[in-house]
Assembly symmetry: C2
Homo-oligomer: 335 residues x 2
């Protein structure tokens, strides 16, 4: 199904131009019309153009009428331009059918759009690192196709065994036959550093009874804990029904950690919140990433080691969608 | 003047035990009675004991009746135990004459004490890295002596030339004869990562018309900017009369910064706030550090390239102190 995909750069300057070009070719080879923003390769210092340039790029993406507005890459740069975004224009574009897709620094945009308008965006791939990879990941592409074709009804993954054990232990449940579901809870989240950097600002949505997913890269577990502590002490975590850890990658433990590691942080967190704490979500700074609707009501189902996030067949992401069912839904199960 | 100094470890485990011992000897050689908390050298993972151990150490420091409660070191560990601190006990200790001194991770404690009780603590040295250095810094020691003897009435430093230029430029003033003063403004701040990690929580004081000082270590300028953006978007910076940059050290610029550096961040900030933005304060993760009263009303005076923070002769830090005068005050001028 041929779609119109708009590529733009709201954050850091594109450095891997070969990857950028490969990504465009990959999408074109799948039959899509790829429109590249005039400043997609702009550079000002470490940014993809100065603040006004990047704001204009966002607004051109919103005005493009594209089916998908896909970031070239993440990096850093959205935080400081959040006050300059025309949220009404973005929300109007989303209502008109444009799906904004991205991750990492893009979490700031997604949170701000959700806080200001309630509109749904998508946590998913970036052009360069994902579609521009020498061999793009199958599951990443399949999830993207689902979005494009409107087939996606959810996603699933296998919980790591150690996490199941700790869930069972901390929540006083026997492992055998452990299962639960959380219905119609707003899915939200993204990059943890971006989420914590928005606490106390007008750009973090106030989500009650939600399912919060998080990921990060190159952050030592003590920093992950400090960021979670901010969300905890700000009262954000107490409002969630589930906290889902995606992939935390590319950090190094040091000898004086003496056993302190990410699992220590997860275990500590489980003692601090009533929310279900799950791990292993295939999302983050890794090739195999699912595509998640940010701001949409979803249902979380856990059966033994199988976890599902379900949002049913979408006929627009504005709240009215089929009731999710994981028995016959079309979703990609990543292991 | 012999004083009672209590050493305790509220954050990371002490690793440099030689420095720890040297620090104690240094203070003892100056005639002080040094009392070492029973768990000052405890270890649990990367922490100086588990959460209960560190909380108990803080409460023993508060109950010690010491003149100075000095941290062994910073690191990480205070964030997650903030809800367990008995702030009444700490405030009572401060009213009784105990001065809590420290920096870095300790900023979390200082902010929480200020938010919960309004009591004054001191941003200054740690035992190991400062008094335990092979050659402790003269100015650090002189400022500490001032606190001990009650002689301190302020501190001064020379503004970097480039900062003067940028102040002059951004604030439309001629450099020659530039000068101003900000009277009776609450001085507060410390480590920027800790400050930003407290935004939106009950542990960040709401300071209006204040003088905010900041420092950090091993944080790239883009991260410094992101942290400042959080304080900006949360409305904290708009409430301040001055923002004073201390030392930002031990980070590495990368080729793709392409000219983006700490000065870019400072320049950007100057365009976003009405507050005076000053730089060069000798405080941070550096040997030469002044001692600053956190939560106390101070007067900031700038005359040409000379900057002064003045709090007058202290007869207790509870608001009633002599009116500051930089003409005859006893303060250490660091270049």
């Amino acid at each position: 199904m041929k779609k119109h995909i708009y590529i733009y750069s709201p954050s850091s300057a594109v450095r891997d131009k070969a990857g950028f070009k490969r990504g465009i070719k990959r999408l074109e080879s799948q039959g899509h019309e790829v429109e590249v923003d005039t400043d997609a390769l702009a550079r000002h210092q470490r940014f993809a153009g100065d603040d006004d340039t990047r704001l204009a790029a966002i607004h051109r993406a919103a005005a493009s009428g594209a089916d998908i507005a896909l970031i070239s890459r993440g990096g850093y740069g959205l935080s400081r331009i959040l006050p300059g975004i025309n949220y009404k224009a973005v929300s109007k574009a989303i209502a008109g059918g444009t799906r904004f897709v991205g991750l990492s620094d893009f979490t700031a945009f997604q949170m701000a759009v959700m806080a200001k308008t309630g509109a749904v965006t998508w946590a998913g791939p970036a052009l360069g690192e994902d579609f521009g990879a020498e061999e793009p990941d199958d599951i990443m592409e399949a999830c993207f196709d689902d979005l494009i074709t409107g087939q996606g009804e959810g996603t699933g993954w296998q919980l790591p065994k150690s996490a199941i054990d700790s869930i069972a232990t901390s929540q006083g449940k026997s492992m055998a036959g452990a299962g639960f579901s959380i219905k119609d809870a707003v899915l939200w989240g993204g990059n943890l550093a971006m989420l914590s950097s928005l606490v106390g600002t007008p750009y973090l949505p106030a989500v009650k009874g939600g399912i919060l997913f998080i990921e990060d890269v190159a952050e030592h577990p003590y920093r992950v804990e400090r960021m979670l502590t901010q969300l905890l002490h700000a009262g954000v975590l107490a409002q969630q029904k589930a906290i889902v850890f995606g992939q935390f990658t590319n950090y190094s433990l040091v000898p004086h950690d003496k056993g302190f590691k990410l699992a220590s942080v997860i275990s500590w967190l489980q003692g601090k919140v009533k929310a279900r704490v799950l791990t292993g979500l295939p999302f983050g700074h890794v090739p195999t990433k699912v595509l998640l609707p940010v701001g949409l009501k979803t249902t979380l189902v856990v059966e033994g080691r199988d976890a599902f996030l379900l949002w049913g067949h979408l006929d627009g992401e504005h709240g009215h969608h089929d009731h999710p069912s994981h028995d016959d839904g079309h979703h990609h199960h990543a292991h």
